[in-house]
Structures are given as structure tokens and as C-alpha cells.
């Protein structure tokens, strides 16, 4: 069985240098990313800290690690295994980071990219990746 036909989508945010976190904390935030996610998925799993940052009126669209949602959003770049789709919200900014994730080095192939305006970021790029034949 192909572990990557899981229909699971991991959602993360990276800066221009593929930075994902600093001392375990997110690099930045933008409400327009959450707005985008809730239009894409009926429900999305997330971690506790990311959940705490979601506005109250949108929390009903998220669950904390239920394992029953088609997508998982992590502010600090936690990738769910197995995932066959990776969506990277690219900040188009450089932030101080100490943890990085380069999708290409983990067997992901870029299939599409879409720009949208952020609330606190001039432009956020939503990059969609699919698994190549490489393993994670």
C-alpha cells in the first residue's frame, strides 16, 4: 500500500529561507491564512498552540489533533505523516529562525502557487506540493 495515498494535507508556513520556527515558536501570523484554510476544508486538525491563536468565531472549524480531519495546520511546521499533499504558506519575508523545512529535500514537488494579500503581510504565496516517489 502506498503510504502517501492518504488524502491528508499538511498545512505549514515558511519564510523566504524555509524557516519554520524559532525556539519552538512561530515566525509570524496572519489572519488571512486562517481565512483561506476555512474555505478549503470543512474541518482542520491543529495543535494546541495554533488552536489558541484562532479567533473564537472560527474555532468551530478546527479540532485539536482529532485524527479525523483531512488537513492539519501547524504554525510551527509540524508535518503529519502520512500526507500526500503539502501546502506551504510562504511569508515572502525573512525572519530569524532556527528550525527549517525545505520541501524539495523531503521529496515534495511543487505543483502550483497562488498569491493572496495578507492582513499584516503584503503578499502571501500558497504553494501546493505533492509527493514524488521519494520517501520522507
Amino acid at each position: 500500500m502506498n503510504d502517501y495515498n492518504s488524502n491528508m494535507t499538511s498545512l505549514i508556513a515558511l519564510d523566504d529561507d524555509n524557516g519554520k520556527s524559532f525556539l519552538g515558536k512561530r515566525l509570524s501570523s496572519d489572519r488571512e491564512i486562517i481565512n483561506k484554510i476555512v474555505t478549503m476544508f470543512p474541518e482542520t486538525d491543529t495543535d494546541e498552540r495554533s488552536y489558541s491563536h484562532i479567533r473564537e468565531e472560527q474555532k468551530m472549524k478546527f479540532r485539536i489533533r482529532s485524527g479525523e480531519c483531512p488537513a492539519f495546520w501547524s504554525e510551527t511546521g509540524e508535518i503529519q505523516k502520512p500526507s500526500d499533499t503539502l501546502i506551504v504558506f510562504r511569508w515572502n519575508r525573512r525572519y530569524a529562525a532556527d528550525e527549517y523545512y525545505n520541501p524539495a529535500e523531503h521529496g515534495w514537488e511543487l505543483v502550483s502557487a497562488e498569491d493572496f494579500p495578507g492582513h499584516s503581510h503584503e503578499k502571501i504565496t500558497m504553494e501546493t506540493y505533492r509527493k514524488s516517489n521519494s520517501t520522507i
Partner: protein
């Protein structure tokens, strides 16, 4: 604010004085004396200079200090916006920049060109493959323009290498700035303290402290950012600079020790 700068300076300088006060970096080598420059090779990040390898092979121009906790006292916290810069010292060197700021304080006008030449300003041009943009030095804002709109204020400008300004300070400053933009009702205590050794005209780097009063996320940090340029030797006494010809010797801190 002067008291806080004094405390910070005492913290750093007391460690320096423990080793006969000649080199800031020797605080990381408790067993080495002031003459043991080659002893710096014993510690990887000193051997390389303040450049730390990461899985992405990125250059890191900072070190986290005080467990990433800013050291503002309780009395200093305020949601009332202000900005303050210590006066230049007797050598004309820039001092601490302190502020409390929020979204409403961010600039809306055009950024102006800078003419101030801070201490240690010995400008040279290099191949852009070595120094991005060619010019070794920037007029580096302590409190960045994007935060409160500071322009050509000699009390808020220091001589910083291109790498220090763009790769060192700016990535941290961006965290603070974008948090302010996202959370309009949050207030940030912010302080940048340049560190000079003895009578050096060029700062070794800056302590950057940022603390969001309402939360504990990306706008909270305490780091020391090194004023360095990989591949270039800096004489911190004067600001003079030249290409590091010997690849076997770490270029970044090669001009140690400071002073006469």
C-alpha cells in the same frame, strides 16, 4: 533607561574584566587568558566566527541571551507610546534606543536618505559576490524605520556591516514589525543596546530585546547580533576593513583584541 544600559554594560564588561578586559569573546572561554587568541579555535562557533551551521547551512549572526527573556524591569513596562535614545558618548558613539510602540506608531510617510556618518564609518566597496550590494557598511538604525519611522537621527544610527543589518538585525525586527501590524491592539517594549569594547569606534554588535506586553509569541526575544561580515576582517578600533586573505584563520573576529 541609563540605569538599564549601565546594568547591561556591567553584565558584559564584568565578564570581560574577568579576563583582563581585553576581549568580549573571552567570556565564552573561562579557562583561557587574554593572550590565548588561538584558544578561540577550541570552540566551534568561535573558530568559525559567530557563524553557526544549521541543517539548511544558513549563517546565523546572533546568539540567544538570557534564555530569550528581555530584561525590562516591571517599572519600565508601559502601553503609552514613547521612544528614547541615549545621547552620544564622549567618543561620539551611539547609545541605547528604547521604546514602547504599537501599530499606530508605525510610519506612513516616505523613508528618507541617510547622511550621518556614525563612528567607525570607514566605507569600502567590495565585489558584490563577497558583500551584497558591494558596500561593506550600512548606516544601521538601532530602532528600525519600519517600527516608528526613525529617519536620519545620529542618536539612532550605528555603523553596521551589510550582513549585520540585513541578515542579523532585520530578520528579528521583521518579527516585531509584523506582529504589530497583525495585532493592532498589542504593545511592544523594544530596546537595542550597542556594545562597544574599550574605545572601539565600531560596535561588536547589539543586544536586541523585544517584548509584547499582551502575549508571548514571535515578538518576544532577547539576542545579541554580531556586527560581522563573512570574508572581511574588521578592525573594531577604527572601523577599517579589508579582505581576509588567509582562509585558515577565521575572518570574522580576526582583528581581536580591541584597544590600543
Amino acid at each position: 533607561m541609563h540605569k538599564i544600559r549601565t546594568v547591561l554594560m556591567v553584565m558584559f564588561l564584568s565578564l570581560i574584566l574577568m579576563f583582563s578586559g581585553c576581549d568580549f569573546l573571552l567570556q565564552f572561554l573561562p579557562d583561557k587568558g587574554p593572550d590565548s587568541v588561538t584558544g578561540l579555535d577550541d570552540i566551534e562557533w568561535l573558530k568559525e566566527g559567530p557563524v553557526i551551521s544549521t541543517p539548511e547551512n544558513k549563517t546565523t549572526f546572533y546568539v540567544v541571551i538570557n534564555n530569550n527573556e528581555p530584561s525590562f524591569s516591571k517599572d519600565e513596562y508601559t502601553t503609552e507610546s514613547f521612544k528614547k535614545n541615549d545621547p552620544l558618548d564622549s567618543l561620539g558613539r551611539v547609545g541605547t534606543a528604547t521604546s514602547s510602540m504599537c501599530r499606530a506608531d508605525m510610519p506612513t510617510g516616505e523613508r528618507e536618505s541617510l547622511d550621518t556618518n556614525p563612528t567607525g564609518w570607514v566605507q569600502n566597496r567590495y565585489d558584490s559576490a563577497l558583500v551584497e550590494g558591494g558596500w561593506i557598511y550600512n548606516r544601521a538604525h538601532l530602532r528600525g524605520y519600519q517600527l516608528m519611522g526613525d529617519q536620519d537621527d545620529k542618536q539612532n544610527l550605528m555603523t553596521g556591516t551589510r550582513a549585520f543589518n540585513v541578515d542579523g538585525m532585520l530578520p528579528f525586527e521583521n518579527r516585531t514589525a509584523d506582529h504589530m501590524k497583525e495585532y493592532e491592539n498589542h504593545h511592544i517594549m523594544y530596546r537595542v543596546t550597542p556594545i562597544f569594547i574599550d574605545d572601539d569606534l565600531l560596535a561588536r554588535g547589539v543586544v536586541m530585546e523585544s517584548d509584547c506586553i499582551e502575549c508571548d509569541e514571535e515578538a518576544d526575544y532577547a539576542v545579541f547580533v554580531y556586527n560581522i561580515q563573512p570574508g572581511i576582517t574588521l578592525d573594531y578600533r577604527t572601523g577599517e576593513n579589508w579582505i581576509n586573505e588567509d582562509p585558515e584563520i577565521p575572518s570574522v573576529w580576526k582583528s581581536l583584541p580591541s584597544g590600543g
